[in-house]
Amino acid sequence: MVDPERGIMDRMSEGKQKESGLITTEKHDEVTVVAVGADLDAHRSQKAKDLLGEIIKGGTVRLVVDLSSVAFVDSAGLGALVSALKSVRPSGGDVRICGARPEVTTVFELTRMTKIFRIFPDRESALASFRTDR
């Protein structure tokens, strides 16, 4: 069971820890991989935004958002990702996307979000991109 009294960073330091049915986090050095477990639609996007905000408040500024389990992202879902990106950019951080299905990638392309989000085919390449940044 997750102890709500403990900080999210403590919980994440245990390696892989389920935060909710919507998001799972996994720490890789200074990068946190956030796997989204369900579609980012009007109902779930606010929750996703709050969870991402919580992770960032805990001190994480480099995030890889794994969308491989997501079939649909609407504008509110994009808003959650944009909000996370805007929170980490001033600290030199970034939010990178990986595993997006073609239909989800299309949403990023049509809205031109590809201008601000770097999209990678899988986790490994997304994590590697942060290593090359150093």
Partner: protein, 507 residues
């Protein structure tokens, strides 16, 4: 052996008199019933000599005796009398049990009446203070307490305190502690309270404390100090718990009523907001000498984050569709501000990319930090029939060319509100390249059929294609798309705002 004083409670003088007289007549002796204090209660017949006394017991206790004077058939009669007395005892025992049953039933009836009356009185109450006072009065009467106190939710998160009797103020700490319990308990002294986790003080008499609980939530607690040093009984705790449970349910209902009132107030405000938003939208059909424009905007909730613009200009027309990320009230508030700005800026800025550049800075400054953004596409028609299209992250407008083919103009820029220094560009289509342009929000392409599939741009293009061969009027094109969408959705509830704007150039 012990005896009780006076005639027993079951003593039925009429029945006993008849029995005694019958016995005296049958035996031709004096027969008497003697009370526990040796005083004759009933006597019948006559006889001489020292009488024989047969004890009469009820539940093993001497309550009376039967005296019978001696005679020829004394021994046989004694046996007979013993048998008769035995029968009488059985009758008395049964009657005694019945008396106990009646007493128990009467007690339970009083409890039931109290609970029923309490339930009846609280049914119409809508004031938590009145409810607490009523509970205090009933509990005081039922438990015969020296003093009692109740803490309760008096609305808007405030805590109320009701009390009765001397020393009740000292019960406050205990009552607040009791409001965290899951079930009631009787505390016989400070030691018991400390063991139970209570660290305050209260009068040195036994105290009963029960939470006002409903659906796993506590709405307060009732505490009562005993009138004397006798313990409260398990029956007292049961009765107090029943009263507290009813009160808990009533407090829960009051909270629901408050919430329902608040929801109703918000619903009325949203109704007004929806009316205001509808009133500032352009008319659904606008017809000028050179253009026919048909638009529709259906919010998923009362108000939405979509809108469309139809602003006729001296040399043409400015039209477009915008969508604030998310939907609902927050999106609607931003959208209304944004729409006003576009309209105001259209008087001084003619190129759509320029309009987007300025409004982007405004949106970034206002709500950029919240992660909200606006996708927008603007069409600026010029006097020669050409159109400049600027698209900020919005789904691509679909253009029906004069030859009936369909082309799309994809976005080149991010939505507004993301990057302050984002650049925007106008894509120009000559009059020969376009006749009808349909712009729409993602509420159309992301509409879902019962089997979970999305309408998508492919289906929209197909739907538009059905209208394309003999390019029809803007209203007809709009309605064809909406009919196809409605057929596709087959009654599914929409989760996003939906906007469609069709512009047809007449010349």
């Amino acid at each position: 052996m012990t005896s009780t004083g006076g005639p027993p409670p079951w003593f039925d003088r009429g029945g006993m008199q008849a029995w005694t007289e019958g016995m005296a007549k049958a035996l031709r002796r004096r027969v008497a019933i003697i009370g526990p204090d040796d005083a004759p209660l009933i006597s019948a017949g006559t006889g001489q000599g020292e009488p024989v006394r047969i004890p009469f017991q009820v539940n093993g206790v001497n309550v009376a005796s039967v005296e019978i004077t001696p005679g020829e058939l004394a021994s046989g009669l004694e046996i007979l009398t013993h048998q008769a007395v035995g029968t009488l005892q059985s009758f008395a025992d049964a009657r005694n049990s019945m008396t106990d049953l009646v007493k128990t039933t009467a007690h339970q009836w009083r409890e039931l009446s109290l609970l029923y009356r309490f339930s009846d009185l609280i049914a119409g109450l809508q004031d938590p203070d009145a409810l607490a006072n009523l509970l205090m009065g009933r509990a005081n009467r039922a438990l015969h307490c020296q003093c009692g106190a109740i803490v309760y939710r008096s609305g808007e998160g405030e805590s109320g305190f009701a009390w009765t009797g001397d020393g009740a103020a000292q019960l406050r700490g205990l009552t607040e502690w009791g409001a965290r319990l899951e079930s009631g308990m009787i505390l016989t002294g400070i030691e018991g309270a400390v063991e139970s986790g209570f660290e305050g003080s209260f009068p040195g008499r036994p105290v009963l404390v029960v939470p006002l609980r409903c659906r796993d939530r506590n709405f307060g607690a009732l505490a009562a100090a005993s009138e004397n040093r006798d313990m409260f009984t398990a029956e007292d705790l049961k009765l107090a718990s029943l009263l507290a449970r009813q009160a808990g349910l009533a407090f829960a209902n009051l909270e629901l009523i408050d919430q329902a009132r608040e929801h109703e107030r918000l619903r009325r405000e949203l109704e007004v907001a929806a009316e205001i938003q509808a009133s500032i939208m352009p008319p659904q059909v606008t017809e000028t000498e050179r253009f026919e424009v048909a638009g529709t905007c259906l919010p998923a909730q009362w108000v939405g984050g979509d809108t469309f613009f139809v602003l006729p200009q001296d040399d043409g027309l400015l039209a477009g569709v915008a969508d604030v990320s998310g939907h609902g009230l927050s999106s609607a508030l931003l959208m209304n501000a944004f729409a006003s700005e576009i309209e105001a800026l259209s008087f001084t800025h003619t190129y759509p990319a320029e309009l987007l550049r300025i409004t982007n800075r405004l949106v970034c400054a206002r709500v950029g930090a919240m992660g909200l953004f606006v996708t927008v596409v603007l069409l600026r028609y010029w006097s020669d029939g050409s159109v400049s299209i600027a698209n900020a992250g919005h789904p691509p407008p679909m253009v029906i060319t004069p030859t009936g083919s369909i082309e799309m103009v994809t976005a080149s820029s991010l939505p507004l509100g993301i990057l302050e220094d984002e650049s925007f560009e106008d894509v120009r289509l000559e009059a020969s390249q376009q006749e009808v342009i349909a712009t729409y929000s993602d509420g159309i392409t992301e509409a879902v059929a019962p089997d979970g599939t999305m309408f998508g741009m492919g289906r929209l293009r197909q739907s538009l294609g059905a209208a394309a061969p003999d390019v029809r009027g803007a209203v007809e094109v709009r309605d064809l798309i909406l009919e196809d969408l409605s057929e596709f959705e087959a009654g599914q509830t929409r989760s996003d705002d939906l906007t469609l704007l069709v512009v047809r150039r007449k010349q």
